[in-house]
């Protein structure tokens, strides 16, 4: 894990250690998700005989994006089942998910991809604003390129050098998106929106106060979009609350005290 991410979501690190994992800080580059991915691949190159590479997002060389999307697709298969019980129909009007590399969005969208009545919305991290120079909104800032072994949209200079992204949330702080999402963007099957650091923080506090649920900073980006869309009274809207906010408590407390 990137050294910066170890610091900003230390409870996740503690949890992994308690489960028996050794957590090695990635010290190169911006010390975040991009660099942790680089270091994981380097470790794999160094130890191919006894190491199996696994990645948690729908990025990387084939077949990893496809594998991760299939594993995550349990999310949309459960959404369908639970919606049927609650509403009588398996199909919602909207599915909304945050998007960094795109694993939870891939999982939430997966079993709705061919259901054209279901509108899919992916919410990227605008960071301090899309044009601030500190953002991770790849569909707005990226161009086609090859990064981490797949061709997709990448935030890069015209010389093909990757631009360091920024998001307050560790999981969205990534300069690319999985190739499946680039396809959903280009084909317009999904709508891509964004929320800034500030907007995500506000949405996290709003959910905490309204529902008593503390969302992960990543998922809080998806929540923000609820205020941006004019839903109809009968719309069934699913927001994928992909993570808990325990890990982000430091950031939340800094915000509340600022």
């Amino acid at each position: 894990m990137g050294e910066k991410d170890i610091a900003r979501q230390s409870p996740n690190v503690a949890r992994m250690k308690m489960l028996g994992a050794e957590v090695v800080p990635a010290l190169s580059g911006s010390k975040t998700l991009k660099d942790a991915t680089n270091e994981a691949i380097r470790d794999w190159i160094n130890n191919p005989e006894d190491t199996h590479y696994i990645i948690g997002s729908v990025v990387g060389p084939h077949p990893y994006p496809d594998m991760v999307a299939r594993f995550q697709s349990v999310i949309s298969s459960e959404i369908r089942k639970q919606l049927k019980d609650k509403t009588g129909s398996e199909l919602p009007s909207y599915v909304i998910a945050c998007l960094g590399g795109g694993s939870n969005a891939a999982g939430a969208f997966y079993h709705f991809l061919d259901e054209e009545s279901v509108r899919l919305i992916a919410v990227e991290a605008a960071g301090e604003g899309i044009n601030s120079g500190r953002s991770a909104a790849t569909t707005r800032l990226g161009t086609p390129g090859i990064f981490h072994g797949s061709k997709s949209l990448v935030m890069q200079t015209e010389d093909g050098q990757v631009i360091e992204p920024h998001s307050i949330s560790a999981g969205l702080d990534y300069p690319g998106i999985g190739p499946m999402h680039a396809h959903l963007f280009e084909s317009k099957r999904a709508l891509f929106m964004s929320a800034t650091d500030e907007e995500a923080l506000e949405s996290a506090f709003e959910l905490a106060r309204l529902e008593g649920i503390i969302p992960a900073l990543e998922s809080a980006h998806a929540l923000f979009i609820l205020n941006k869309i004019n839903f109809k009274i009968n719309d069934v809207v699913v927001v994928n609350l992909s993570g808990r906010g325990d890990k982000d408590m430091d950031t939340y407390m800094k915000y509340i005290n600022s």
Binding site: P48, G145, I146, G160
Partner: protein
């Protein structure tokens, strides 16, 4: 005749190829590095095109790449430098880097500029063989650029034979499964080198990764026509105030004891 082939037809052993990162330690160091390498005994040069996320490289080349990019390196600026100095050089030149910057430059545009700058070969370790064969091989061949494949101890014989069949120049044998600059004893890889020798490939083999001194260079040359040094050379010109002198010293330390033998 492509200069790589010319080299291998004239020299059969102890071929020394040196890698350096273009734009490092100074943006305009390319010419003096190339001149010095030729003058003090390198047989071939691999010019590294820096990339922001060099997945196959260890800390030394990660660092040199980062500094080069901060110095303002672009592929365009490299071609300009090469155009200015190619006429003074007679050794084969290879461009080595990652696929994305080349893709953004434009593949055919890149090939044309490479040919015009007197480049003889290209190494792009993250361009998979199957994609190369389908989409790129005819283009590289059109501009007389040899595409060099890397093999590792994990590469199957079938795949090595396929790479050998569809490429020219040489086969780059990565000495152990590792990124660049990792200290693994290359003498421990004897079985792998013998397996490669026994395959009687059409292309000559050069061994790279982990070659850093006269001992490792000599060991590699016992099993291949020569070897490639990258990290150790890049390290030797870090903070260099006299690149020619430091290059001379470095090449002497690699070559001298071998000459006595």
């Amino acid at each position: 005749m492509n200069r790589i082939e010319k080299l291998f037809s004239e020299k059969k052993n102890n071929i020394l190829s040196i890698y350096f990162t273009a734009g490092y330690p100074k943006l305009d160091a390319t010419n003096i590095i190339l001149d010095s390498l030729q003058k003090y005994g390198a047989d071939m040069v691999e010019i590294g095109m820096p990339y922001s996320d060099p997945l196959a490289d260890g800390p030394v080349i990660q660092h040199s790449s980062m500094v080069a990019l901060q110095n303002g390196f672009t592929i365009k600026s490299l071609f300009k430098q090469l155009n200015a100095c190619r006429d003074n050089l007679n050794l084969p030149l290879i461009l080595m880097g990652y696929l994305n910057p080349v893709l953004q430059y434009g593949i055919e545009k890149f090939c044309i500029a490479a040919q015009n700058s007197g480049i003889d070969g290209i190494i792009l370790p993250d361009l998979p063989m199957s994609v190369y064969e389908k989409e790129y091989s005819s283009l590289f061949e059109k501009y007389n650029l040899h595409f060099i494949f890397l093999v590792t101890p994990e590469t199957s014989e079938e795949r090595i034979r396929k790479m050998d069949a569809i490429s020219n120049g040489f086969i780059y044998a990565v000495s152990s499964s590792s990124i660049t600059g990792v200290e693994k004893d290359i003498a421990a890889q004897e079985n792998y080198f013998k397996r490669l020798e026994g395959m009687k490939l059409k292309n000559p083999v050069l061994i790279g990764f982990g070659i850093k001194d006269n001992y490792s260079f000599s060991s590699a040359c016992m099993h291949a026509m020569g070897a490639i040094i990258g990290t150790a050379y890049v390290k030797s010109i870090e903070d260099s105030v006299n690149i020619e002198e430091d290059t001379k010293k470095f090449l002497n330390s690699i070559l001298k004891p071998a000459a006595i033998l």
